[in-house]
């Protein structure tokens, strides 16, 4: 296998399986089927992934070292680690956002849409809202990029503005919105792509602690991955059981509150040092185990 694949070239598709769709009306809004069988094979798969950034003429800085990660369909995975451990790099690698000068080894498989594009949608730490577009128009960027026709995307965007608590701010410029609202518009934009893999890079990392707590409670209630009520259709999803979310954070409580699986990474170069799954029920995570892994 080619050990020096560029990030953009490691996308592979397999099979022609049609992903299951919810019976709800949203099925009509969903883009074409993604080429992965539901269940069975993991939705996102990284195999002994290594990433090194060029530094100077000959040397390079290793950001990731031998990272293997499987993300199943419908799961919400939090990647937890200290600052600078390469967790954002891992997310960018999955999202196909590493530049051509970055040396990548190993492989990443992500689902591919019928248009041949990788079916991931990435949300940056800072909202990335375009200052020349009003709030609703910024949310529509997700649909435009994913090639979803305006007639179906616009009503959906308006509905999501209601559900995200943004009603009345459709025509506001980004600079007129508060930090929390900007992040919600950014997440809404990410959902508008209707892609089955959401990559969230510390979505609330830039917010003050109070707003962040509120936003995390709200995000947990959204049920992005859609494993709560199968078949009902989540507000944000096109298909309830089809979406995977990968969240990058350095906050243990945020990870435990939102995810059903926590992957702990070491300091640079980042390696996976613990993979802790939710036990279900009232206290889903073994907090001590996560903290031990972080301290080791």
């Amino acid at each position: 296998m080619d050990q020096r694949l560029l990030a953009g070239e490691v996308v592979s598709s397999r099979g022609g399986g049609v992903a299951s769709r919810s019976p709800a009306g949203d099925a009509a809004l969903a883009p074409a089927a993604y080429s992965r069988e539901p269940g069975g094979t993991p939705w996102v798969r990284a195999r002994s992934l290594g990433v090194a950034f060029p530094s100077g003429r000959t040397s390079s800085v290793r950001a990731l070292d031998d990272v293997s990660l499987d993300v199943a369909r419908g799961s919400f995975v939090a990647i937890l680690g200290p600052s600078g451990c390469g967790k954002s790099t891992l997310l960018r690698a999955i999202g196909g956002l590493l530049g051509p000068r970055v040396a990548v080894s190993g492989s990443i498989d992500v689902p591919v849409g019928s248009d041949g594009r990788r079916a991931t949608a990435w949300m940056p730490q800072r909202d990335g809202l375009l200052p020349w577009r009003r709030a609703l128009s910024n949310a529509m960027v997700g649909a435009i990029v994913a090639g979803i026709p305006r007639e179906t995307a616009l009503p959906r965007a308006r509905r999501l503005f209601q559900e995200f608590g943004l009603a009345g701010f459709e025509r506001a410029w980004p600079h007129e919105l508060s930090g929390g609202m900007r992040q919600r518009v950014a997440l809404l934009r990410t959902c508008m792509t209707e892609r089955p893999v959401l990559l969230l890079d510390e979505p609330f990392g830039a917010l003050d602690p109070l707003t962040r707590r509120r936003m995390n409670r709200w995000l947990a209630s959204l049920d992005l991955a859609g494993h709560g009520v199968a078949g009902e259709g989540t507000p944000t999803g096109s298909s309830s059981a089809g979406r995977s979310v990968v969240l990058v954070t350095h906050d243990v409580d945020e990870a435990m509150a939102l995810a059903d699986r926590v992957v702990v990474m070491s300091g640079r170069p980042g390696r996976v040092i613990a993979d802790i799954r939710s036990r279900g029920g009232g206290t889903p995570f073994d907090r001590e185990a996560i903290l031990d892994a972080l301290d080791s």
Binding site: L97, G128, L130, P131
Partner: protein, 253 residues
């Protein structure tokens, strides 16, 4: 609030200069063939109002068409040179040459090649105008926020999406700022090319006045050039407000 203030202060400055000019003529005992008084200039303008209309129209047409042509060429060239590095290397000596050779030298050549009419004047104006637009637009494109480009790429955007969603709108405020600077040169360039060879326009009017030693008429020409250039800059400012509402509304806040 600040806009009213700007208009008031700007207007007051003009009034003050005209008053000082009037006082200098009145109390300095200057003969009118050296420096005519403002009232005399206004009277001369009234007397020539019929022929002046056509001259102003010619110069304004040349300036506006030249601005439009130069602005579009500068903007497009900025996108081409920033997208394909080779084109930047090819364009650089040509662009520098076009800016180092003065209009006075270029005008006779342009007239020789395309004739005395409107076309040669529009080309000369466009040659002056495209440069500030090219420079400010290129800087804006190179300085596009990496966060915006990453966001569109992270959602799965193509190169075309990067262009239409990020780079084109991001370049617009700078392109218009460059055009506003160009707006002050445009009338001057049109007048110079008319002055050298033309049948109509403020340059022709001033040239004729000069040969007739009609200093008051020359001042009429100067005042009209100033008014025309000022109106163009104001019009471009209005265009900025309409075309880039996000930029101006953040300033207004």
């Amino acid at each position: 609030m600040s806009r009213t203030r700007r208009v008031v202060v700007g207007g007051a400055t003009v009034v003050l200069i005209v008053a000082a000019w009037d006082a200098a003529v009145r109390f300095g005992d200057l003969p009118p063939f050296l420096l005519p008084s403002p009232t005399r200039v206004v009277a001369t303008a009234m007397a020539h109002a019929d022929s002046l209309g056509a001259h102003v129209a010619t110069t304004a047409t040349e300036a506006v068409l030249g601005l439009a042509l130069g602005g579009v060429v500068g903007w497009v060239l900025a996108f081409v040179t920033t997208s394909v590095p080779v084109t930047a290397q090819v364009a650089q000596p040509i662009v520098v040459l076009s800016q180092t050779v003065p209009t006075v030298v270029l005008a006779p050549l342009t007239i020789l090649w395309v004739g005395f009419g409107l076309t040669s004047k529009v080309i000369l104006v466009a040659l002056t105008v495209f440069f500030p637009v090219l420079i400010s637009t290129s800087a804006a494109i190179r300085g596009v926020d990496a966060e915006h480009a990453d966001t569109v790429a992270g959602l799965g955007g193509s190169r075309l999406h990067q262009l239409t969603l990020v780079r084109l709108p991001a370049s617009l405020p700078s392109a218009l700022a460059g055009l506003r600077i160009a707006g002050t040169y445009a009338v001057g360039a049109a007048v110079v090319s008319e002055y050298l060879a033309g049948e109509s326009g403020l340059g022709v009017f001033i040239q004729r006045s000069r040969t007739a030693y009609a200093v008051d008429q020359m001042f009429v020409g100067i005042a009209l050039i100033a008014i025309l250039a000022g109106s163009l800059v104001l019009a471009i400012s209005a265009l900025q407000r309409v075309a880039t509402p996000w930029a101006t509304s953040s300033v207004r806040l």
